[in-house]
Point group: C2
Chain length 248, copies 2
């Protein structure tokens, strides 16, 4: 059984890490569209076209599942991909929302993500449909460059938290949705900052969805094949560093 | 007389601002390739192709000069552009180096820029050719997202300076080259941090080069036309905020 994972770049490695650890597949083919990253600043029809092209490319590997590990593509292109695919397609946004199914509907939810993900309103719309009422969404665009620089705790991270969360009563947040695949690297610092919150990590949410909806069970081992539209060597170096670190 | 200015995105507005204030042209046509920004993570042949396409586009406006306001394109594509152009082409890197012509060759120079600009070694090569010996280059990739977030002074900026410049004796730096078009927004904070340094700003360097090498003199007024390959409205909003602020 083969799983294709598609992301605009390297952030989806945090999702790949969780799937890899859960051993739900014999093989994972990860494809990062690094030549055209980031998707966040592109218009809708372009993102749909790029996502369809990525799926076409992954079809060459006879995949049985497609995981869309990019929040922007999940917010924009998942419906189109499902229409065209002959295999199940699951996106990080629907998985993240699904992970909250058994939570109290009065929970105070904080959604953090890129500007594009937050302004799309996709998470909020799906959460409201499930009956959640208390949702605060905050775009935290500095988190990606901080993670890319390897800065995941300490003074700078705390200053940036205080900047973005200055109007939030942090003790009262019950759930924090990590609405960007780079954010799991900040889990440790975010958990300290929001001591009473449960953090929702896209990778873990995808694993739960695959287990529960498709009855996938662990294989003996899973191999991973890393591909990129530009600088695949850079992706592999990053994967070496990241796949071990990520708390999947 | 018309000047075309080309950048991968919006950062080149800091260069446009200086040229606008100096009134060296009747008209400026600014073109940001926002659909394909950033160039920094793309390979050389792609950057050359994109730069040639941008020049082709600007030719439609009958420009008399082309300013390459993007450090990555200046490091990679200026020679190719010069070969193809029937008008003068000037890049921010050669202008920045030119601006140091009368400085003491023993000056302690600090070059800051994106990872791509620093690793290209273009500035260092040109500076060494001019006889400078004491050059330190540091990639400061968090500066662009900070500026994009409007954070240009205060605690976070100082913490980030201390992170990047921890091995630098800041009192001893004589010259700081702002090797990225976003960095002039940090001039005020950088000047405080490097109290004895002269800051080299690409926009001002380009103006000096145009005045001295091409004998351009001020017109009565200059108009500016802002074009972008994606989201031109976003560029215009940014220009409204930025063109007034930038200390050109």
């Amino acid at each position: 059984m083969k799983c294709g994972i598609f992301d605009s770049g390297i952030g989806g490695l945090s999702v790949a890490s969780s799937i890899l650890k859960a051993k739900l597949f014999d093989e994972i083919i990860y494809y990062g569209d690094t030549a055209r990253v980031p998707y966040g600043n592109k218009n809708e029809s372009t993102i749909i076209r790029y996502s369809l092209e990525a799926m076409e490319f992954l079809k060459n590997f006879d995949i049985d599942f497609l995981v869309v590990a990019c929040n922007t593509a999940s917010a924009t292109a998942v419906e189109e991909l499902k229409k065209e695919a002959s295999f199940p397609v699951v996106g990080v946004i629907e998985a993240g929302v699904k992970a909250l199914e058994n939570e109290n509907k009065n929970s105070n939810i904080l959604l953090i993500g890129t500007k594009r993900t937050v302004s799309s309103g996709k998470y909020e719309k799906l959460l409201k449909k499930k009956g959640f009422k208390n949702i605060t969404s905050i775009a935290t665009p500095l988190f990606v460059p901080l993670v890319e620089e390897g800065i995941t705790d300490g003074k700078i991270v705390n200053d940036v938290f205080e900047l973005y969360f200055k109007n939030i009563d942090r003790e009262k947040i019950d759930i924090v949705i990590l609405g960007c695949t780079h954010y799991p690297f900040l889990s440790h610092s975010l958990q300290k900052y929001f001591p009473n919150a449960k953090l929702i990590h896209s990778g873990q949410a995808i694993v739960e969805l695959l287990k529960n909806e498709y009855n996938l069970t662990p294989k003996k081992s899973t191999s991973i094949n890393l591909l990129a539209s530009d600088d695949p060597e850079g992706l592999r170096i990053r994967a070496k560093e990241w796949l071990d670190i990520i708390n999947g």
